[in-house]
Subunit: 492 residues, 2 copies
């Protein structure tokens, strides 16, 4: 199985597409640009959801659910947001199909069932949520509101790729309302920090925290904070965003509150989200030419046990030990699967679990029984060793942490080696072409220069990093004054 | 708060609507027929989801995600299913809005962005899923497939009511594929049993398991099994359904598999679902004129502690004991909230938690501190007692089970008292009018008679119960032969 994968060095993009499908993560559907997330891929997404949900609740957020549809007059209320999403939204215009009089068995849209007002399938929910918050907020006592929603959204992208850019995707979107600018800004930063913590500690993906430039901001936001990750091909991937929306949506939907001092003010807002796009980041950060590599915290199956046997009697003896191991590993909190199917050979199983990124594989044959050993293979390093039967559980427990850490460190090292400071535009182009990664360069702060660099190189400013160098300099393109370096990259 | 609710005896329907909104469960949105599920209501739904999801996985089902949209040609492939849902489906016809040249700031549908083929927003996912299964199934080795999806669906209902009937609702839909009819029928029954177990043991709602008549079957199913509950106003509510789809969808989408014996056969299918409608069943089974009554297993907060104090010093002393109680109750696995807000009076808090159905309320005042007692109030019985401080945790733990059981028994008694056997149509009408509930009566087995009874009385056959009496008799309307009694009722 794994052997049929295109190599990353040959065609990274093709490797990615093949891997997503062959590892049973997702596939394209009969609907243009929409994907089917298959059980194995969905099990990984569920682990991500559970951890994020826990982090959100721990920081005082509650879940709720708002409608899928946004009536057009609400959609257009916040002008910049509307402008940003109008070009790529699915629109419901009718509420009934009827039999086609000319083609028996076929259906057509019933022209008599036209909606009085069109409904936009939500590309994001600020509009519908702030039209609701208007009724919930009268006084400072009603604030803050800190709500998250797990939902599907639709953006009619023209060029789509599994997980990375799909017409429909799954995400969570937080929408909070605050009495002060300060509190809203703190929330924006807190949630960006939570995303960073999640990406690094749970997904083993190192990220850079920073602010977006005006060009790259969310439509309707005054500030967009983000976490940026680096993929193995040297392209950046925006892994999560947190927006400070100021009073824009409160103004658009007339949401005011009575202050403690007796005044009447517009409410301050934030929104923040991560999506199934993170699945793409996961794949492109850790996986290799043999298939998926999963950090233990995200692996639906952390350990697989494969018996190697001839005949029923051998299988019976091996199964006895294997089943003991299953019980012991489960008791240690490790998810384990004993694959004793007789429809597939061990070699096929090895390749399959390698392709699907199971962190640890244990193999048990007749010789192992004699010697009291187990063959242990690590997916991340592709190394094997023999472990004493009685030491397996402790060894595996330790490996769960070690593999998680190793994957993070490997990715961090790669990322750090791919942040290059440049001071001339020639260098900029050379590094971008030959090495890729993040380019740390001075920029004069104007959208025009940013656009020009994008036209010339396809690189965009990924972020103004919060923790980067802060000395002034000269813009790499225009030579004008620059307050500080920013990070450029080609991006997904 | 609670005092402002309409009484059930005055206007049951109004009581329900007020309760849903005032208890912060849900409210109507700006989109016709679509609801906003508020955090408190959503927290209850999340508990239901978690338990159902556990039960599904325990029985070998996996989660996945399929597209929101169904292209028209797939939607119309299974004729009966299409016919059943075409009359009430939301249709996406365009993928872009543009600026209205006549009205600055307004948007209109861009006529140049018309889809080549219309997309139906899924009212249910058999069509899109079976068009996918076609690619997943070649051989008996690929079977069974047992997948569940948590999703939103849209059915353009004309008359909507919060939770009970909304244009968009949340649900889970299981879709399984099997090699044999027997296996598919077993799955259909298993999932109906799981729904019954969930309703009774988790939601404390007694249900009757049975089969639907042809008239009431899911569009495209050969058999629909269901669980039927009885609401306090004597109307029935279908709380879950499980469908045996035969080979209908396999035929419509040409899904065949190579059998172990070398043949080629159509695959057998089931589908099954429960929805946010269960929230309506929950409310109408247990709640009273003071508000919501929640079984402990579903209560987001199982215990609330309210301090009764004058001045900071008293609050400090009370809080010391209260915080100890919080720690002890949490350690016992009970979700507890200490409401020490100084913005609201104890009386307001009492009414609020009564309205929201918190199962147990503890109140602590200066006299309690002196005596070493706590005042404990039960929401279900509205009774109060004083409990010794050191006995609180044991008492509350026991109450969690006791309240759960009491609610179920109370609802079961009510339901059992409202199953009436009748043998004449006059009796039928009299019981329906004066008492309501389920009417156990003979029926000649024809859709015509069923329809006629519906026209005359608004009662429908809720189910042919699996465990009801099985002796033959004469149809209550036509006097023709009847194999057995069935259950009629007016229904939500």
């Amino acid at each position: 199985m794994g052997k049929n994968l295109t190599k990353r060095s040959e065609d990274y993009s093709r490797w990615y597409n093949e891997l997503v499908v062959k590892a049973d993560m997702a596939e394209n559907s009969a609907v243009r640009g929409c994907m089917v997330i298959k059980p194995y891929g969905f099990a990984i997404w569920e682990k991500m959801q559970a951890e994020l949900d826990r982090m959100f609740k721990e920081t005082g957020h509650e879940n709720a659910y708002f409608p899928l549809f946004v009536p057009k007059h609400l959609f257009e209320a916040e002008e910049k947001n509307a402008e940003g999403f109008a070009k790529e939204c699915a629109v419901v215009t009718h509420y009934r199909l009827k039999n086609d009089p000319d083609n028996p068995g076929k259906l057509i849209v019933d022209p008599e069932a036209k909606l009085e007002e069109e409904l936009v399938v939500r590309p994001t929910s600020e509009a519908i949520i702030w039209s609701t918050y208007k009724n919930w907020i009268q006084s400072y006592r009603d604030l803050p509101i800190k709500i998250n929603q797990w939902a599907n959204v639709v953006r009619w992208e023209m060029r789509t790729r599994l997980f990375l850019r799909t017409a429909e995707f799954l995400w969570q979107e937080g929408h909070t309302a605050h009495a002060t600018k300060k509190e809203a800004l703190e929330e924006t930063e807190l949630m960006n920090d939570i995303y960073a913590e999640f990406a690094e500690n749970f997904m083993a993906i190192p990220v850079i925290k920073g602010a977006k430039t005006e060009n790259e901001r969310f439509a309707g936001a005054l500030e967009t904070y983000c976490i940026e990750a680096l993929m193995q091909d040297g392209k950046a991937l925006q892994a999560g965003t947190s927006h400070f929306l100021g009073q824009n949506f409160a103004r658009a939907f007339d949401v005011k509150f009575a202050t403690q001092e007796g005044g009447l003010e517009h409410v301050w807002a934030t929104s923040w989200g991560v999506s199934t796009r993170l699945m793409g980041a996961l794949i492109m950060t850790h996986s290799d030419d043999n298939g998926l590599v999963l950090p233990p915290k995200l692996a639906p199956t952390q350990v697989v046990i494969v018996p190697i046997y001839k005949g029923e009697e051998q299988l019976k003896q091996i199964s006895e030990v294997a089943n003991e191991l299953v019980q012991e590993l489960k008791a240690a909190g490790i998810s384990v699967k004993y694959d004793n199917r007789d429809t597939q050979k061990p070699g096929w199983k090895f390749a399959q679990y390698e392709l699907q990124g199971v962190p640890v594989r244990l193999a048990l044959g007749p010789k192992d029984l004699e010697k009291g050993t187990v063959e242990l293979a690590r997916r991340d390093t592709l190394t094997k060793e023999f472990v004493k039967r009685e030491e397996v559980v402790e060894k595996v427990k330790a490996l769960m942490t070690e593999i998680q850490d190793t994957l993070f460190e490997k990715a961090r090292k790669f990322r750090d080696e791919h942040i290059t400071e440049v001071d001339t535009f020639d260098e900029f182009k050379k590094v971008l072409k030959e090495k890729g990664g993040f380019i740390s360069a001075h920029w004069d702060g104007t959208p025009e220069t940013e656009n020009r660099i994008k036209e010339l190189t396809k690189a965009t400013i990924r972020c103004i990093p919060f923790n980067g160098p802060k000395e002034p300099g000269k813009c790499v393109l225009t030579g004008k004054d620059s307050a500080r370096r920013v990070l450029f990259a080609k991006a997904y």
